[in-house]
Symmetry: C2
DNA sequence: CCGGTTTCAATCATCTTTGACTTTTCCCGA
DNA sequence: TCGGGAAAAGTCAAAGATGATTGAAACCGG
């Protein structure tokens, strides 16, 4: 029913060592991605070990061999999610041209980021972590790392803003808050004119903040 | 253990009809508020009938007499929450002076609104409703009603903007998205300088949108 | 004072989720 | 070819949540 591991094209470790054990990392990846799919499709509270195993195409017992407990799956899933978010974001930013369209394109890259199902998973986990200390202990450091990376990326992308004082921080905050608000809206209704117009408006505000005389950073 | 219903000071119906049945509406209110408290304190997924009854000070059986099923409690809780949000919001708006400080004060009123635990409950339910059709069927109409009311309130508060074309809509969207983003941020960390600064920035943008030449409404 | 109705309490059966345990299958090297 | 060990599958009991049922207590009208 399930193809042999050796034939599994999902194997992402091209290393020469073809251990059987090493190959079973593919199974772990399947489990982790199944868990994230469950969070997106069913919500965090319905993400039970049973459905994760079902969607991953294994038995529960097999899964609990790789991850002794549910929290271990969650931990691995969060790390995987964080890594994917970061990689996708950096990739999108790295291919931006260094011309006039940078602002617009960076905004749209970030907008794509929050439209992605990955961000839905993140929001589900984020909300759940409010009342789940164990999850919070896992998610908070990952998110803080992401935001630091985001800040660094922004500085890297707009080096000329670095000296522009508080305007730069305000711009980042503005993008952050508006995008989060958009993400929450997009959870329940499809994208429409309001959302697109807001991205356009954001762009104008960013250009304005970039050109305005620098406000003193407190 | 529980005071007699007749002595219950929570009774909000000052009508002359002192029916026993009428008074038991107080018990229903207790249950509903307990449910909302549970959503805020424990999250929606941990809001079980058992803890609701516990926090309300009744037995589970007694509670299930008033609300035959859990979804009935949720329905009543959503309606109560919606009503409370609306009333609190209108009250905050109605006492705003009609002077220059309107914009700032309206913003702060809305900020207070999203800082309130009530809004945490709403967010929890909103996220949960993404993957819970039954909850969505209850929550979505309530939220749409709230947003319509919000729009009407805004028009009422800033009548001179009504003719200012798309700028008015953009201003409302902007406030909406930024405040939602702030609310998500405030879920997990306390309010700080970033949040306050953003409210200040929002105020500037609203004044700008109000004074700028009207953009054609599409 | 009494009977009926409403409110409250307690118990029960069912279902789901979880983690531990046991068994079977498969891969690799000797 | 065979045996060791990892991977996968299946089984089990404990805990928790839900809804239904039954029994007790309080209140009202007559």
């Amino acid at each position: 029913m399930k193809p042999r591991l050796r034939d599994d094209p999902d194997a992402s470790t091209p290393g020469p060592a073809g251990w059987q054990a090493q190959k079973s990392a593919s199974t772990r990846l399947q489990i982790v991605e199944s868990a994230l799919r469950c969070v997106v499709d069913l919500g965090y509270s319905c993400t039970t070990t049973t459905v994760i195993a079902e969607k991953a195409g294994l038995s529960r017992g097999a899964m609990l061999h790789h991850f002794p407990s549910k929290i271990d799956i969650v931990r691995a899933a969060v790390e995987h999610l964080h890594s994917k978010r970061l990689k996708a974001f950096r990739k999108a930013i790295d291919r931006l041209p260094r011309d006039e369209t940078r602002v617009r394109r960076a905004l749209e890259a970030y907008f794509e980021h929050v439209k992605h199902p990955m961000y839905v998973a993140f929001l589900e986990l984020w909300i759940a972590s409010r009342t789940d200390p164990e999850l919070q202990a896992i998610l908070k450091p990952a998110q803080e790392a992401f935001e630091r990376e985001w800040y660094k990326t922004a500085v890297d992308l707009f080096p000329e803003w670095e000296g522009s004082g508080a305007n730069f921080d305000i711009a980042l905050d503005l993008v952050h808050y508006v995008m989060d608000g958009l993400a929450v809206s997009l959870l329940t209704h499809d994208i429409g004119e309001h959302e697109r117009r807001m991205v356009g408006y954001l762009e104008e505000r960013l250009r304005e903040l970039a050109s305005k005389p620098a406000a003193a950073r407190p």
